[in-house]
Symmetry: C2
Subunit: 444 residues, 2 copies
Amino acid sequence: MRLSRYFLPILRETPKEAEIVSHRLMLRAGMIRQEAAGIYAWLPLGLRVLNRVADIIRAEQDRSGAIELLMPTIQSADLWRESGRYDAYGKEMLRIKDRHERDMLFGPTNEEMITAIFRSAVRSYKDLPKNLYHIQWKFRDEVRPRFGTMRSREFLMKDAYSFDLDQASARHSYNKMFVAYLRTFARLGLKAIPMRAETGPIGGDLSHEFIILAQTGESEVFCDRAYLDFATPDAKTDFDDVAGLQATVDHWTSRYAATSEMHDAAAFAEVPQPEQMAARGIEVGHIFYFGTKYSEPMGAKVTGPDGQERPVHMGSYGIGPSRLVAAIIEAGHDESGIVWPDAVAPFDVALLNLKVGDGVTDAACAKLQGELEAAGLTVLYDDRDERPGAKFATADLIGLPWQVIVGPKGLAEGKVEVKRRATGARETVAPDAVPAYLRQNRTA
Amino acid sequence: MRLSRYFLPILRETPKEAEIVSHRLMLRAGMIRQEAAGIYAWLPLGLRVLNRVADIIRAEQDRSGAIELLMPTIQSADLWRESGRYDAYGKEMLRIKDRHERDMLFGPTNEEMITAIFRSAVRSYKDLPKNLYHIQWKFRDEVRPRFGTMRSREFLMKDAYSFDLDQASARHSYNKMFVAYLRTFARLGLKAIPMRAETGPIGGDLSHEFIILAQTGESEVFCDRAYLDFATPDAKTDFDDVAGLQATVDHWTSRYAATSEMHDAAAFAEVPQPEQMAARGIEVGHIFYFGTKYSEPMGAKVTGPDGQERPVHMGSYGIGPSRLVAAIIEAGHDESGIVWPDAVAPFDVALLNLKVGDGVTDAACAKLQGELEAAGLTVLYDDRDERPGAKFATADLIGLPWQVIVGPKGLAEGKVEVKRRATGARETVAPDAVPAYLRQNRTA
């Protein structure tokens, strides 16, 4: 992509309304634009990251056996009256009347609708387990939206819902999501720690939040430092292996880790002193087992092997991709801008032409762009008529993993410069050798 | 994907509420489920088609030089007051008050918001042309939603917006979309004919609808049969070639073609009698040039080469992927069910195990699934414990391009059966030869 043809509205000034670094950097790097309080447009650079994050989430949901569908944003209030949540939900629910004065709402979550879909289609334990998920825009009318896409009103959420015959099999479904989440966050370049959590308005008995540590986190968290060195479950994990999955979950819940709501100071004191970690955290995922809380009032029943009908046991599992984009920046930036992990970067390479209009440099850049793209790398080619300093600043700000810097002086010596954004390390490489060099040195 | 683990709620009975064949088949094939009047959930099979349709649209938008972003679903009424459309739009606009009693709305279209995004970022003719698009859920509160996803209230739309310095360059941007649309519909397996159209509430001087012919079409259309044999613009089309693109558009508008609103009986009479075609049509795309209708009131101005500020010339370009899924079925079905074009089929292959539980057959199917997937084909493996008749009926109903039918008798002779859904043609093939056979015979 040629930058001259792209739409990348970089801000020179630091926006005053932005209180945290990810919000500042997303605005400055032209990733998002606020359209109303807590409502953002995702500009081209931001959308590319959002899609990559969602694709990783999707891949790990699919790997675990969950099935993707897509529920609408607008729901009928009647469904929520069945579960009793229509009146209970409070002002965060955006209530709407349509032209026929019917009560509708913009879905803040989908337990009711997925339960209705399930009960209309599944009758027998033979069709279980099922885990259905979607990645859809939700709306929660926060009193005071803030922190950019970290706490917005319209936000993207992956929400999965599991259906099982009994508590034991529901536990296995819960464990599948637990492991899928560990893998998802690791692939996003994040160290996420599962912590026992309160269940809140979703309800239920068993719940974990996945927390990444960041100074700007909203929650105070307490955990054993050992978690930072735990190995991520393997891509070849067998999600049908009940005991194996339980062992992984047991391992990942064997140490102390709790949000402030669940904190037990006495238990924490038993963690060896140097391993005690009290920090700020950002919640990036939340999983719940809530049994028959919705299936019972809504009549979502299946026939068991004994011929008896019983309400299914359910769980729900949420990750917010739009929040995650901000969280990844909180975890990866420096004073010059964003530092994207390779796996979610909007482009792999910033190709900087230091002398646009110089025939040799232009030709070398065009050739490099073609070769890099042919090698499967995505390239943002800065072909603007700007001075080198502005190009370096833009490249650092938007944080692409590699910068390939091409100027007439280097070319005369048969060289271009390759800079790794994360470390600042620079190497000179022959133009023809750049694609192979980048392929060898990428981490994802 | 194993069907026993999938979520495919086939309906045995024909739903009474469905008036047209695509609506009936989408419900019966477990592609969609109505959640409220004119509001649908896309079940797994339907979502796969919707995503493939959107991906083809996206690829052709990108090829033409348009840039993807994503605007939110909820908009502030203030923006629409700037253009004067807030009061003008009528009851189709879903108006909402948030918890602070601010007037919001669920976007039925995005001219205002994209104009606001553009004006905040672009100041100079040097940054033009720009074409920004998104693929996002829209809401239009139809009095009487009907025909399933053909005319629903919540629907997916690709809407692109072009920005140019003057009318001549805006015409070139219009032509880019014209050609991109021709390519898009052809790739979707549709014969779409561009017809001069009224501009309606979007406004503007120049507009074409893209219409496919189908007996269930809502519009009466009149055109020259010659269009059915016109060649689709090539994938190597140079979208920067102003004259070349104009020639393509001139060619595609050289014959008579009009919707009933624009019909001119006298001009139609001049078409040679055997070429006159009066038919029903489905609108699958609509493009507009509307000049400064929004840029003027909203102050979206750029500085020209002469240093003078002037409002930009704009156009907008819509395709509805959710409507297109239904239109593709209207154009491709038979009495047994859907017949998907290869390019949008939810899976490439239905693999039918005629004797689940028979060791040899199960092993052959598992091996075939692995080999087909390794060959890059997507497979829905019917491993349910059902009689063959039910499997054949399901496979025909959901319309995957290929059926690979595996039973113990055939295997004893070293053969499986391969059926092409579109033609009903059957061949017997050695199991090992199936992947190569399908690769050689696919059309997309």
